[in-house]
């Protein structure tokens, strides 16, 4: 056993202080534990109460809503069941339908929402990003025409998520005059992937061709977005871009544009690029030939089946598949060749 002198040396006064800190820490942590338990219980009580309220409202609204949608009851019948204090919940309720229905029924839904949306539009100025995003979402779904100016204003929002939601809503209800604003807002969504931007551009439709061509001519814009636009003129611009730039992404994107909207006029370019040093360019050129090529391009595609890069071979096989079974069957016959593997794969897919 250690002597009392030694004990005193190592424990006091540090020991006393440590003991006090320990007790204090335990007390604080116990408070935290009780806080977490209490918060969970309160959350559970609150959520259960909300769930009960929703159940009550749904029981009241659901039957009438179905009658209104089927034309068996007038819109007023549902309106009468929505007291002022339930306006917010009613808009939430309508959102469930708005996302799933189209046509005349959707017009009914937006009509029902109209008198209650004034509460939502105020949230576009809320300090909370998520509240603004939610408001943009609701106005975009339920009142895109009536609240168009508010949504256009939301394109200037400092938060990209609000801009994205507003832009998506406006592109769904596209008006030709909105194109410059929408495309300009896309430059603020630089982190968004090209796929999402392309999807939005498609919603804008062919009327926005001129604005998009400007994007096409500007290589600083996300290159792959170029591939998303199905405009014949875009293919000619893309063909020029392929020869004018060394940027690999841009060259590939431009070839993707040609694959989508190109014509036989663009085949000489693709035939030349099928021997390019860059596999990505070769693969894209092969896709152009597979989509727009003629019988004269079959030997080129068969050669591409032996390309050392699998992607090029796969694209070539897909191109040959579009031209019928005969060539693939002939290639598949010659076993132990790389091209035979991919040819048989395509034939199998064809059989299915």
């Amino acid at each position: 056993m250690i002597s009392s002198d030694t004990l005193a040396l190592v424990t006091s006064p540090v020991g006393d202080q440590a003991f006090r800190i320990l007790l204090l820490s335990i007390g604080l942590l116990l408070l935290c534990v009780f806080g977490f338990v209490g918060a969970s219980v309160l959350l559970r009580v609150k959520n259960n109460r909300i769930a009960r309220q929703w159940a009550r409202l749904e029981a009241r609204w659901d039957p009438v809503m179905l009658d209104v949608l089927s034309g068996a009851a007038p819109v007023d019948a549902l309106e009468a069941l929505v007291p002022r204090e339930d306006s917010g919940r009613f808009v939430e309720y309508l959102m469930r339908y708005a996302r799933r229905i189209r046509g005349a029924e959707r017009v009914l839904i937006t009509g029902l929402a109209g008198p209650h949306l004034y509460m939502v539009s105020g949230d576009l100025a809320n300090g909370n990003v998520e509240r603004r995003a939610r408001a943009a979402q609701m106005l975009g779904e339920l009142g895109p025409i009536r609240y168009r100016s508010e949504l256009l204003g939301a394109l200037e929002d400092p938060a990209p998520v609000v801009v994205m939601i507003a832009a998506k809503a406006l592109s769904r209800e596209y008006r030709a005059g909105d194109a410059p604003l929408l495309i300009e807002s896309m430059s603020r969504l630089s982190l968004l992937t090209s796929r999402l931007l392309v999807a939005m551009l498609h919603q804008l439709g062919p009327q926005s061709a001129w604005a998009f061509r400007q994007t096409l001519a500007d290589p600083t814009q996300p290159a792959k977005v170029l591939a998303g636009f199905n405009d014949q003129t875009a293919a000619d611009i893309a063909a020029a871009v392929v020869d004018q730039t060394d940027d690999l992404d841009l060259r590939v994107a431009a070839l993707q544009v040609i694959e989508r909207v190109g014509t036989a006029d663009h085949l000489p370019l693709a035939r030349r690029l099928i021997k390019d040093a860059e596999p990505a360019v070769r693969g894209s050129a092969v896709k152009v030939l597979g989509t727009h090529g003629d019988e004269g391009d079959i030997p080129l595609l068969v050669d591409a089946l032996e390309d050392p890069v699998s992607w090029v071979a796969i694209h070539a096989a897909e191109g040959l598949r579009r031209g019928g079974r005969a060539v693939l069957e002939a290639v598949a016959e010659v076993r132990r060749r790389r091209s035979s593997v991919v040819a048989r794969e395509m034939l199998f897919q064809e059989d299915q």
Binding site: A18, L22, I26, R44, Q137, E345
Partner: protein, 472 residues
């Protein structure tokens, strides 16, 4: 004698400092997680995942499913994967040289026929024997290969993956139907995202039918119940916080989504480690940053994969041993990142945390227990001090687990009954009385195994996902 006493005192202080650092980190991470989850749940309401289905923006995805002796579970798992709510995806199951009836079972269940498929990459793997494709589900492929381990199987699947994004999932896990759609969203919202992890939840005790979780219930036995709390703490607190700091070092192998091109460029999964999931993420951070690109590895809590956790002490021990080995192997391999400012928060914060607090934690805690015992024997501390010290350790553990349960209540609320909430809090308390110490012992074993260079996964037992009702 004074020197010995001083030494014991010093060790105790160091251990106390370790506990304090761990507690502070977890409490701060819980606060960060709370902030993120509160915003995220609101944001989920404004960004409807169904939009992705109709917008055409969702990229095609391949689900890579390594399978070794999964005869019991593979059919239900694959059936569930084939009914996911996603516009365009393929399922690539890789049979890693199973010695049971995995392949015949799959052939029979899905009408598989032999075919060919040109590999899109050439990551070295054990030889592929055959490739099958389902005649009933055109998006189902099965690669049958020689045994080479999970990483080797994943690499074989990567070689046959043709989509820009792939998702890994264990053959014994169940993805919720919209999990993929939710997990893909970060890729669309931010070009810098290279990997996304979803939450992995414990399926034990729940009602599973046709490869779907029909009713969520907590497991009756305490061992899996405590693991439910552990998983909540790990995912809803720690991983959320690391994701917020853009310093995630782990995306669970049971459910992770990655960009194919970057993974193939970096050589695929490492086959000489049991922690291939963590190793890949650390390597992606390293390789991307060495090319001047700061990647984002994101964790989000709404895509859910359900997994079966071990129900026996032996099985759990082997799992934790393996996890600890994997952690240390990944960290050792990329030790150049330690405190290296070139790797930002990953090098300066995440790596030191994982090395000193998670990797070496079991060693420090064990030294702490020994020093504590020595202190008692030597009579250096009086009984109230000893009791307080123990109480602190226990209360810290309870607070962290209770915070995780509260975060669950704040976000997804998968356990709707009042009884569930009570049992979760009870598990959060009981976890610290024996289970935690046992866990440290297994992890210490993992440290020793890692130092000895042990390999292999150890035997695993599966119950299967057939119709299963909870024990009432």
């Amino acid at each position: 004698m004074v020197v010995v006493a001083r030494f014991i005192w010093l060790v105790n202080i160091l251990v106390l400092a370790y506990f304090s650092a761990l507690a502070v980190f977890y409490l701060v991470s819980s606060l960060l997680a709370f902030r993120f989850l509160r915003h995220y749940t609101l944001r989920l309401r404004s960004l409807d995942v169904d939009d992705l289905l109709t917008s055409g923006a969702a990229p095609p995805v391949s689900l890579l499913v390594p399978a070794f002796n999964e005869e019991l579970t593979c059919v239900a798992s694959v059936q569930a994967l084939l009914t996911l709510n996603y516009p365009e995806y393929e399922v690539v199951v890789v049979n890693d040289g199973s010695t049971d009836g995995t392949i015949p079972t799959l052939i029979k269940a899905f009408d598989l026929v032999r075919t060919t498929r040109l590999p899109s990459a050439d990551i070295p793997t054990q030889p592929v024997r055959r490739i099958y494709r389902s005649q009933r589900h055109v998006n189902l492929w099965v690669v049958d290969k020689e045994n080479g381990g999970k990483s080797d199987a994943l690499n074989a699947a990567l070689n046959h993956c043709r989509t820009p994004v792939f998702c890994t999932i264990d053959a014994d896990s169940i993805l919720e139907s919209d999990a993929l759609l939710r997990a893909i969203r970060p890729f669309l919202e931010d070009e810098r995202v290279v990997g996304v992890g979803g939450i992995v939840r414990v399926v034990n005790g729940s009602v599973v039918e046709g490869g779907r979780v029909r009713e969520v219930r907590l497991p009756r036995p305490w061992l899996p119940l405590i693991q439910v709390v552990e998983y909540l703490r790990a995912f809803l607190s720690a991983r959320v916080a690391w994701s917020e700091l853009n310093a995630s070092l782990i995306v669970s192998g049971a459910f992770g989504v990655f960009r194919r091109d970057l993974v193939v460029q970096s050589g695929g999964y490492a086959t000489d480690t049991v922690g291939e999931d963590m190793e890949l993420v650390v390597r992606l951070h390293r390789s991307c940053r060495s090319r001047g690109f700061t990647p984002r590895v994101v964790f989000i809590p709404d895509p859910v994969a359900w997994t079966e956790c071990p129900e026996t002490v032996g099985g759990l021990g082997r799992q934790r041993d393996r996890w600890q080995r994997g952690l240390l192997e990944a960290l050792w391999r990329h030790r150049i990142m330690l405190l290296n400012p070139r790797y930002g928060m990953v090098g300066l914060l995440a790596y030191p945390y994982f090395l000193f607090l998670e990797g070496m934690g079991p060693v420090i805690e064990t030294v702490g227990y020994v020093a504590f015992a020595a202190t008692l024997v030597a009579g250096l501390w009086n009984p109230p001090f000893v009791a307080s010290f123990l109480a602190l350790a226990i209360v810290v553990g309870i607070a962290l687990s209770a915070a995780a349960v509260a975060l669950e209540e704040l976000t997804l609320r998968r356990y709707p009954r009042w009884g569930d909430l009570l049992r979760l809090f009870a598990a959060a308390a009981l976890e610290n009385l024996g289970y935690r110490q046992l866990n440290q012992l297994w992890r210490l074993k993992g440290v020793v195994s890692a130092l000895r260079g042990a390999r292999g996964w150890g035997a695993q037992q599966r119950r299967g996902f057939g119709p299963r009702s909870p024990v009432l």
